[in-house]
Symmetry: C2
Subunit: 335 residues, 2 copies
DNA sequence: CTGAAAGCGCTAACAG
DNA sequence: CTGTTAGCGCTTTCAG
């Protein structure tokens, strides 16, 4: 059973295929009566225009690729809702490409090659370890892109990001004011939010109070996997305690809370903990976790909206859009 | 700057485009010397074969669509790793389509229409509310499919599933033997694992002991969102307590644990709780949550592997593959 | 307002 | 082993 093509409906409707093409593309120049006739046949034959053929003819695939390393998936997954919905409404297909961390030497290169071959109209990137390499490549191939999580300026590149430096500054500054100077920052291997910016914000706050921030002592590196970071913290809190620990992702925040309490450090009385993202993890822990809320769903939706604007040469106010955050105060901090 | 095409490399290499086509498709009939010459030009010109054109010529897109409702995303996201990796290794593109629950009347229909238009080679479906409608449509459009989470038998459809009935039976049977008869089952709106099967397993166990299972009393319906089900359980456990609660997803298990403890019901002493999926949620709660482990990553990878076998008419042992589960005993149950 | 015809970039017989 | 030639299904001038 062959697929029905535009020829079939043209023949059946007694018009040329050009006319059929016009009605399926909503061209306004078709006479209403002709249009109705064609529409009727399309319906009867259950004709579904072949996007592949159209893609070849127009050199547009109406496909957006999203590219990210597996290990960042915890962050990305939260945005897929927004990306998927926006994609559906704007009639774009969303194709996912994961760059495996364990994989071969040049996965990022290979993945971008696949994207080029598939002729995706544009890509969405997420801040991560290898973001610079990724940006390099989309520039090289001249693929329009938007990156989520960090701000990059380029002709064909937009960004959706938060002011990480400011967020970190404000949090740390507040504690410093209360003379809670013993603050550590938990840094995961992969993070949607740019770690450097966070750290620079922290430093800025310390500078403000003419206090030293020792990156070697006060930044703890860990994994994004709870299974890995929880044991690490269990060990750590056997002989450590701080005024506050600032984790960059809820999962790690929960790991800190659990590990600390397992070592009889009371949260928030002995130690306060605050994290970022405000996922449901933050609600599940006991005590519940204070967390910086990011508008995750919206960031995803905004990214595809912005990207489609770039693709269609629509007017754009700013290619770099900074979204707001909000601290959700819960029980792991005192105030 | 135009894209370089197969013509360009043919001209440059002084061969016909058929030959170029042969080398990029790994046909063995090309003389080694010619092949090298072509390869060299391909490299110099940085030629990336246009998949769209190839798709049109071969009527194959090497694209697999995965379709799921937003609300099932919690389950699906865990499989994306396996799906993405397998897709990459087998050189398939993975396109995601979300069926919005809130959306218009016939989202499933619209989404499948998009899939048809995009000419995806096959689709991966996930057990959910509307799975029957989805299956109906892939059959109608004759799209090869594999469904994850439930077993369906059809010519063009494979399945990756667990024996939910058996899982439920074994869990409940064990408690019944200890004369812990007051068991409730938490049923979410959307579930990857077929709820009916779970319930039928429970009933079977009750039958075995000639005990009654009252579906109206012993099945509690809830949301998949922690934000929604936690308050519901808080209210519920004000005047309820059971021997054991069996939740079909970790998130709900955690909600039960937290809500029960907030109402001074000790876990596991006063009440035991066990759930399914074994995600990291199960490790985060206090006490930690006993959970039925499903090989999530593998299920995703298996699904694309099976689907590609169906697509390529490879030999298949079984189109219905049942994967094993394992109970991960933790602190929310006594033994 | 509609039709004819030339592609879009590649594959796949069919010859040679 | 290699080249020629039709398509794949649709869009898009260009005429009419």
């Amino acid at each position: 059973m062959k697929k029905v093509t535009i020829y079939d409906v043209a023949r059946e409707a007694g018009v040329s295929l050009a006319t059929v093409s016009r009605v399926i593309n909503g061209s306004s120049v078709v006479r209403e009566k002709t249009k109705q006739k064609v529409l009727k046949v399309i319906n009867e034959l259950d004709f579904k225009p072949n996007q592949v053929a159209r893609g070849l003819a127009t050199s547009k695939t109406t496909t957006i690729a999203i590219i990210f390393p597996q290990s960042l998936f915890a962050h990305v997954k939260n945005m897929i809702g927004g990306i998927g919905d926006a994609g559906r409404h704007l009639d774009y297909n969303i194709t996912i490409y994961t760059t495996d961390d364990i994989g071969d030497d040049d996965t990022v290169g290979h993945v971008l090659e696949k994207v080029v071959k598939a002729r995706a109209d544009g890509v969405i990137l997420f801040n991560n370890d290898q973001i610079n390499q990724e940006i390099e490549l989309v520039k090289k191939y001249k693929i329009p892109a938007v990156v989520i999580g960090t701000c990059v300026s380029d002709d064909l590149i937009g960004s959706i990001y938060i002011d990480a430096q400011k967020v970190a500054f404000e949090i740390v500054e507040k504690y410093l004011k209360e003379e809670k100077n013993d603050i550590v920052f938990i840094s995961p291997k992969q993070n949607l939010v740019k770690t450097e910016d966070l750290i620079s914000g922290i430093k800025m706050a310390y500078d403000n109070y003419h206090l030293p921030f020792d990156e070697n002592q006060q930044v703890i590196h860990t994994s994004t996997h709870y299974e890995k970071c929880y044991p690490q913290f269990c060990e750590y809190f056997k002989n450590h305690k701080h005024d506050v620990v600032f984790a960059s992702y809820d999962k790690e925040g929960v790991a800190v809370i659990n590990a600390a309490q397992d070592n009889h450090i009371a949260i928030p009385d002995d130690m306060e903990v605050i994290s970022m993202m405000d996922t449901s993890y933050a609600l599940m822990s006991r005590p519940t976790l204070t967390s910086v809320h990011l508008p995750i769903y919206d960031m995803g939706a905004l990214a595809v909206r912005l990207l489609t604007k770039i693709l269609n040469d629509e007017d754009i106010d700013t290619k770099e859009v900074c979204v707001n955050t909000l601290i959700m105060k819960r029980d792991s901090t005192k105030q």
